[in-house]
Symmetry: C2
Subunit: 525 residues, 2 copies
């Protein structure tokens, strides 16, 4: 049985409740290697070591943390082929280009961006009121950040190396990573590289810890424990809501990215102008990675006219010609079956797919439903179902006005997209639609599908509930994502020599941006 | 019975569950004027009108909102004497200087600061990634902000004119104000001035609404309603926790400022150097406004030696010579009795006070408890009780090391203060204490009591749970307090003419600060 990484050491799980294997999604069979299901003694040890590591990290400042993040990225690159092969085996995501050439470099780049943001220090929003001698900045939380990673990005969102990991460390917090049980070996290898990178640094040995699995009760106890700093979770709505509730009750910051239908509105002029191209983009976006993307369009809205019906037929054809994707695991398959059944029960009409194709492993046919706009408006909640995988509902509205009305009845989603005529023929419809859609989504797109999530300082990979738990934060994009893992620290009349470097009169790097008496500046006082 | 302000009109409460009067704290008797206890029809109407007003505010931009905030401040100043007299009658807080000369101008200044921040636009953290054409900013929540004001600041924290009100409006959100039942007439007059100021503007009529009271069930339904944008509450821990739980479950942002013991650590050198001055500062801070301050020191920690015992005696004498303060109302009196009884039961020793002095109205003797450090460490939670009013616990530690250990066992508080020797004799003790205290408090002070809360951009009037619900936000200080009432809005590939002014290539004011490709700048692209 594999060892957990607790308190700076790879050690056998203290009193495991059992073990699990990863599954090969292509065959549904066990992969070699058993991973422990930890119980409270492991979690408690990780919390206590993490709390001590929080003290240590607060002392050493950003330089060594940035060095570590960069060393870690380097160690990972030495193992790129092994990591990509392992992730492919555990997830069935394409080795090329997806895992090796797209997601792997993204992971390494995120670590390096986080290192730069950490070293730059501007992320902490140092604010100086020189007249009153009150100074403030964002600082670490004082406890470890628990990161619970999703199944669909074994690198870029991995609990032991992905965006939340990088953001939490760069903000000065230790991480307790919990592997996604879909890819424990990938996660073990990542944590091993992190552990190796730690050895050469002054960071506390427990700055990075790894557990593979634990029961839901222990998980809720963990995220609500007094020693924890915060929690970041990416996954299903059911699990996210439980984690959020437990942490909220304990007053612990919690960031859950739970689900999103990512509505795409295709205005009539756009359809007249370039239906074929949009069919290709929508189908491509829905089919990418078997539809197992947080930002996959699960809902597309257009007008129910000849062009709309032709569009439906073309998407159907594209879905059918693609064939079934291999899913990450049995839960994804189960979720797609349930979502199909729910849409069917609610009165949506199945256009294609909706079932397993047969064969080994975890597969489901690309699935398209359609529904009149009036039916959507009659029960909007019923048709914004969590559908992780290629399952999309086309809503055919009476006219552009009904499309805007549909936008008003949306829940919170990560993204909202509007395709419109390039010459301005849809501008009036856009103007009516945009304000309604804007408030329901974190990222608003024009004429581009939402599946790509760039690591940009201006990105918002977040959105109103139930997409996430708070509309003010993003999980992707540096340095913005770091602010989730920070507390506001004000210093009132504190003696100069006792201030953190970022708040002293002298700019600690000469280049750090600080808000001094209302002006952003890189100058010293 | 007074009218509520709903949907832009002063109207009788729809189906009130009853009425209430304000009490004169000096006599405990009813003041004239009956105010309705609203039921769901009023709350529903306010929500619906507020949701419509959110649309309207999003359209008009910051200029008219800033004009309104300034016009409101002007209207208030025209009524300053009447308002100060009314607040004095309802709260028994001193007319001069407190209400008329300190708190009133602070309220007006906050409104004007909010107007400036609104017009300046830099608060929204416009971030432009010109290479990828992704742009983001903070934007309004899309629904009204419910503000539930506290009893202790009838002006500066009033739901209809105080800091939360100003911050929510300046961030582009309508406000549904709920008066504190301790000062309904003050709140009515403030809302009347707001309503008058609204008339001359292009703001939606329902940008400001007022209810006086409603039952707890309706309140929880309100803060968790789909149409609501967010909630801000300042008050007791019991009420705050219920509101937080209801809003959290619904995924609605909620900011609760609940309670804080504001620990003050007096290191041995400081006591040797200037015990008398510190006694005066501590007693003054504890006695200010009858101790009814969010930032009143409820806990002071010092070494149990001759100096410490002399200090205790001097604070006792100062408390006794001050005499009983008049409290804001019967709940405050009840809270002090309960806190005293709880400390007594837990084993703290009563030094002075601990009872009502007799006489009319709501009064309690300034109350001092003491406790050995070891007893505190044995059960830290028992001794961090909510004690709103002049009630302070002196913890007498074995030595400076035990003082640091006590800091480690603190809950989250708004402030933490350290008094130390001016010549450096306490520097080693400070270095051991500071990291432990830093993580437990929002604002760390040196050599100054925490009761004053300056309206500074670097202020943090916030702190880790249970002081508030999230350690990353402040309720005081502009523009920081505005960010609580905002959602992150990202625009990905959105056509230039469709971007909000703050995100277009041209800087909309020529002076707004924006983060463009990693540099803070006032330039256009």
């Amino acid at each position: 049985m594999h060892k957990v990484l607790v308190g700076g050491e790879w050690r056998p799980a203290a009193r495991p409740a059992g073990s699990f294997n990863a599954l090969d999604p292509e065959t549904g069979k066990n992969l070699p290697g058993a991973y422990p299901v930890s119980t409270w003694p492991d979690l408690r040890d990780a919390l206590e070591a993490g709390a001590a590591a929080a003290d240590g990290l607060a002392d050493i400042g950003p330089g060594p943390i940035a060095d570590f993040l960069e060393a870690f990225a380097g160690k990972l690159e030495e193992r790129r082929d092994e990591l990509a092969r392992t992730a492919h085996l555990e997830t069935a995501l394409p080795l090329e280009p997806r895992l090796r050439t797209v997601e792997f470099p993204r992971m390494a780049d995120q670590l390096r961006q986080a290192a730069r943001a950490c070293r730059d220090r501007s992320w902490c929003r140092a604010t100086i009121d020189s007249g009153l001698n009150i100074r403030s900045k964002l600082g670490p939380l004082g406890g470890p950040v628990v990161v619970l990673g999703p199944n669909n990005f074994p690198f870029a969102f991995n609990a032991a190396a992905g965006g939340d990991f990088a953001a939490a460390l760069a903000a000065g917090n230790p991480v307790i990573a919990k592997a996604n049980p879909g890819h424990p070996e990938t996660t073990r290898l990542l944590a091993e590289a992190a552990w190796e990178a730690l050895q050469g640094t002054s960071l506390p040995r427990s700055a990075v810890q790894l557990l593979y699995h634990f029961g839901p009760e222990d998980g809720l106890k963990l995220v609500s424990h007094p020693l924890v700093g915060a929690t970041a979770f990416t996954g299903s709505r059911a699990a996210g809501l439980k984690i959020k509730q437990a942490a909220d009750r304990a007053g612990k910051p919690v960031y859950v990215e739970m689900s999103s239908a990512n509505p795409v509105f295709i205005l009539p002029g756009a359809l007249r102008e370039r239906a074929e191209a949009i069919v290709g983009e929508l189908a491509g976006s829905c089919l990418l990675a078997g539809g197992q993307m947080c930002t996959k369009p699960g809902l597309a809205v257009l007008v129910d006219d000849a062009a709309g019906r032709q569009f439906t037929a073309a998407v159907k054809a594209a879905f059918e010609s693609a064939g079934p994707g291999i899913l990450l695991g049995p839960k994804v398959l189960q979720g797609l079956k349930e979502a199909s059944a729910r849409l069917d029960r609610s009165g949506a009409e199945l256009v294609t797919g909706g079932r397993e194709p047969g064969g080994p492993g975890f597969r489901f046919l690309p699935t398209l439903f359609r529904l009149p706009g009036a039916a959507f408006l009659h029960d909007p909640a019923a048709f914004q179902v969590e559908s992780f995988g290629t399952l999309t509902l086309l809503v055919l509205a009476r006219d552009a006005a009904e499309m805007a009305e549909i936008a008003s009845r949306l829940e919170g989603h990560l993204t909202g997209t509007v395709y419109s005529h390039s010459g301005g023929a849809d501008d009036a419809a856009y103007a009516a639609l945009e304000p309604r859609l804007r408030r329901k989504v974190g990222r608003l797109l024009n004429d581009r599908m939402p599946t790509g999530v760039a690591v940009s300082p201006a990105m918002n990979h977040g959105g109103p509930f139930p997409a996430t738990g708070h509309p003010g934060f993003t999980a992707v994009g540096l340095p913005a994502a770091m602010t989730r893992f920070a507390a506001l620290h004000s210093y009132d009349n504190v003696r100069p020599g006792r201030l953190p470097a970022e708040l002293r009169d002298e700019n600690p790097t000469g280049r750090m941006w600080r808000l001094v008496d209302g002006e952003w500046t890189q100058k010293s006082l």
